[in-house]
Subunit: 185 residues, 4 copies
Amino acid sequence: MKTTRFFGVAALALFAHQASANAVVVNQGISEQEVLAAQQGWCAALVNISNTHETSGQAAAKTLAENVIDAAYGYQMGAVLFKPTLTVNPQTVRATRQGALAYFVGGDTSFPQDTGFALRGWKQCEIVNAAIFIAGDSATTMGKVHFTNSAGEVTTVDKTWGFVKDDAGDLRIVLHHSSLEYTGS
Amino acid sequence: MKTTRFFGVAALALFAHQASANAVVVNQGISEQEVLAAQQGWCAALVNISNTHETSGQAAAKTLAENVIDAAYGYQMGAVLFKPTLTVNPQTVRATRQGALAYFVGGDTSFPQDTGFALRGWKQCEIVNAAIFIAGDSATTMGKVHFTNSAGEVTTVDKTWGFVKDDAGDLRIVLHHSSLEYTGS
Amino acid sequence: MKTTRFFGVAALALFAHQASANAVVVNQGISEQEVLAAQQGWCAALVNISNTHETSGQAAAKTLAENVIDAAYGYQMGAVLFKPTLTVNPQTVRATRQGALAYFVGGDTSFPQDTGFALRGWKQCEIVNAAIFIAGDSATTMGKVHFTNSAGEVTTVDKTWGFVKDDAGDLRIVLHHSSLEYTGS
Amino acid sequence: MKTTRFFGVAALALFAHQASANAVVVNQGISEQEVLAAQQGWCAALVNISNTHETSGQAAAKTLAENVIDAAYGYQMGAVLFKPTLTVNPQTVRATRQGALAYFVGGDTSFPQDTGFALRGWKQCEIVNAAIFIAGDSATTMGKVHFTNSAGEVTTVDKTWGFVKDDAGDLRIVLHHSSLEYTGS
């Protein structure tokens, strides 16, 4: 606060230490570490769905994907702004849970173009953030994500995620825009 | 994020460290330390106005008080919810800058009851927080503040402050409710 | 947005109407009406607890008070900054659910000074707001509340409430500072 | 608030009307109309830069683009998460004002791939929102934007915008992810 300029910050810090000695402190802010963990959780979940598909089939992968969506996205808040990498018009945006599930594991006749992005044998998912913006009660990230399949082929996307913290203190994805890299054609 | 439960947090932290190595990171969240410094700034400013009044008179105290209000409160946002300790009905709440200034240094015929709370010879201002709640982009504190005057007499109030961070990154008081202790009479 | 100054707002509004015709729109903002309804809900609940006490006794009043606290306050978020009107040092602030319940209905040996504020035969509870500040995801109000008991006696307090919207879309009190009016000693 | 269920909402609304009759009310929330106007402002600015380029040359277009960026984006907050449609690795993300300006009008040797997206003779810019999410102090939109050039050719992108309201009450873009449509390979 600008009033500190009149008095010196060091002296204030000394008093301040004392002032909160026995106070109850609740901090609902979002830390960078929480954001990074949420991102890694998404990557790990994707690889896990791929592996589950290989070992246990589509139905098992679908059940896992439902759990992941319910735990990691914010569809219960009314909508998620989700533009997956490979969707096509007029079903580009998947604002509903059903649309997200169809994208990840396919098998939904309402989304006939979806073959299941999470079923493509992903073995690795690496995130390289370009920028992270924490605004207090929300956080946004932008950067590259590199997906490696079982043949060692790498697919790179530009990915934006928006997170908010729910009442239970967990980050949830409320925004997700993913797109193949533009290569300058 | 709940997806972390599938994979273990330690492993995620390892990846996470890598993911933000070169990222631009902006964090507008409010830290506990910023809150405590803002509180101490308020106390220091009050004592400073009192001292300025003694050494240089009411006009100098008023000028200083204006600077403090403009630097520490959020009146430029449209209103501050300010219930000072000693105001009386029907001018209890001071939602405008003028009302706040009158309370602190008096001398305003529009607020005839105000004699200037900051002119009472305060030598010390001690904060004892009971609770601090940081909600991301706002912070609220509640506790006791003990004011000691030049005669060594102590006045204790129950004080609530609400702060937000402005575009410049400084905390500003947007809520201030102060009241004499209820003593059970 | 300032770019609108280059083109005229009326023209933009025309386009805008078209742009959201079929969009999913979720708005988690807090309206003034929601704030006023939450305040009135608090008043109505207080009178209801008083009436329940008279007709059905303290145990019934306590059960109702627990329901009200769980529905209207945010204790499940970690703490509520609650300074009730008539609490005394060192139990002035009631940051826990237990402390709030003791204040409203008494009967808790951990809070021996509490006789139950909600058991005082309140028949009417009238709110006169001085200021309301809605910051997007939180709202704060400041003003007078007049309590009338069965003898027609009126108690007036200065009251500040802070609300946030929970995941279910309901406002919850996370801040509550109440104090008897200062009458100029 | 859930306490309203005990008493009926209609009755509460009646009281509520009275409670705020003379209150100062400040509402910093973001309305859908503000979001739509900010989007239209962006479109109008793009066409304006294109037209300025044709009539007055690149230097004039650049000056206008600087004004637009300073008025409509939030670079002064530390960074903007901006992934333009046609940028290529390793300069995909334009977190700085300089990077945004280079993308829109080219002519910056630090960004040698940029030829100036806003200089492509755009005559029309149409937004079709799929979803809008207003979280109180921020708003996010996702949908299609169709750009039409002087030859009548249409380029369609998937576009996500994130806005916050600054201290002056204007919406600013703090997030912008644009990508060419995926057409099914």
